[in-house]
Amino acid sequence: MHFVTGGAYNGKAKWVRNYYSEKAPVQWISAYQDEALPFDFDEDFVVLQGVEMWLRNDIQEQTAEAIRIKWQEIIKRWRIWEEEKKTRCCIIIGADITKGIVPIEACNRTWRDASGWFFQDIAAASSRVDIIWYGIAQQVK
């Protein structure tokens, strides 16, 4: 698993597209395009873009702790899918929303907390982690 993060509009997707340009075909699934999150993928290389938006669907009804547990299970399923075949790689792009002022609305605080944990769990499960700053990658794992 390869986790790519950084602030919004820092060029994360562009960097991933460039980095994996040789690895075609890549299946690209974007939460920003309102695409549903599948668990079985067609290609060996899968990009899941905007994972924080999928997580956001849960913030109205669940606590940050419950959301974390739910998404830990999802991360496990991605890992299992990857391990079924050696060539498979799951590339996860998430916008960092954890470094601003505490949001006024409770659900946005939940979202922020849950996404912090979610990103920690993705990073732990990933063999490589990059933070993108205006198009420049810093590999931190």
């Binding site: 602030g7 938006m53 470094k99 205006y134």
Partner: protein, 191 residues
């Protein structure tokens, strides 16, 4: 005609980014026997802003090489009449320029206007680069918080993020200043 060297310096509020930018400009000017030009994009409309401006002015007055100050809240390329191939230009700061370009015309923030503004700012930067030895651009770190539910913040963050990406791509060196410490993100040798 050779293009000016381009430096991009960003950081949080009161991170010391302006001071680092000024030092960088001065060192460049001393080494290259260049003149120093301060391109101020801010408009002073309250006491707090005046305090910030004064603080930076006092810093610049201590400089061994005098600074010439230009105030262009919009249309930054107007500075080219006053500079030449021996000039170091410090643009402070990109976020205020974006504010001024976006909000002084009272136009709705529609896609076409945003695109125009993006091109206008990038053209301004390029025009200055064509007429100077070195251009240093100071900007603010874009917010990293839940912005997606707020249309206005979203548009603003996107504009600034895209500009930062485009400038970093063209820059010879890019720094993020953290608590007074410049962290080099791009570039060969530290200044």
């Amino acid at each position: 005609m050779a293009k000016a060297a381009l430096y991009f310096i960003t950081g949080g509020v009161r991170s010391g980014k302006s001071r680092f930018a000024e030092q960088t400009a001065q060192e460049w000017a001393i080494e290259q026997h260049a003149t120093l030009h301060y391109l101020a994009c801010g408009r002073v409309f309250d006491a707090e802003m005046a305090e910030r401006v004064n603080r930076h002015q006092e810093d610049r007055e201590k400089s061994p090489i005098p600074w010439k100050t230009w105030e262009f809240p919009t249309d930054i390329e107007r500075i080219v009449d006053g500079i030449n191939q021996d000039s170091v230009v410090l643009l402070d700061c990109l976020t205020t320029l974006v504010d001024n370009e976006l909000f002084t015309q009272q136009k709705p923030l529609e896609a076409e206007f945003l695109e125009e503004t993006f091109i206008k700012i990038m053209n301004g930067i390029e025009e200055i680069q064509r007429h100077a030895a070195c251009l240093i651009i100071v900007s603010n770190e874009v917010i990293q918080e839940p912005i997606f539910h707020n249309e206005f913040l979203h548009t603003y963050a996107k504009m600034l993020g895209l500009l930062h990406q485009a400038i970093v791509e063209r820059a010879d060196a890019a720094y993020m200043v953290e608590w007074g410490i410049p962290v080099m993100k791009k570039g060969g040798t530290p200044i």
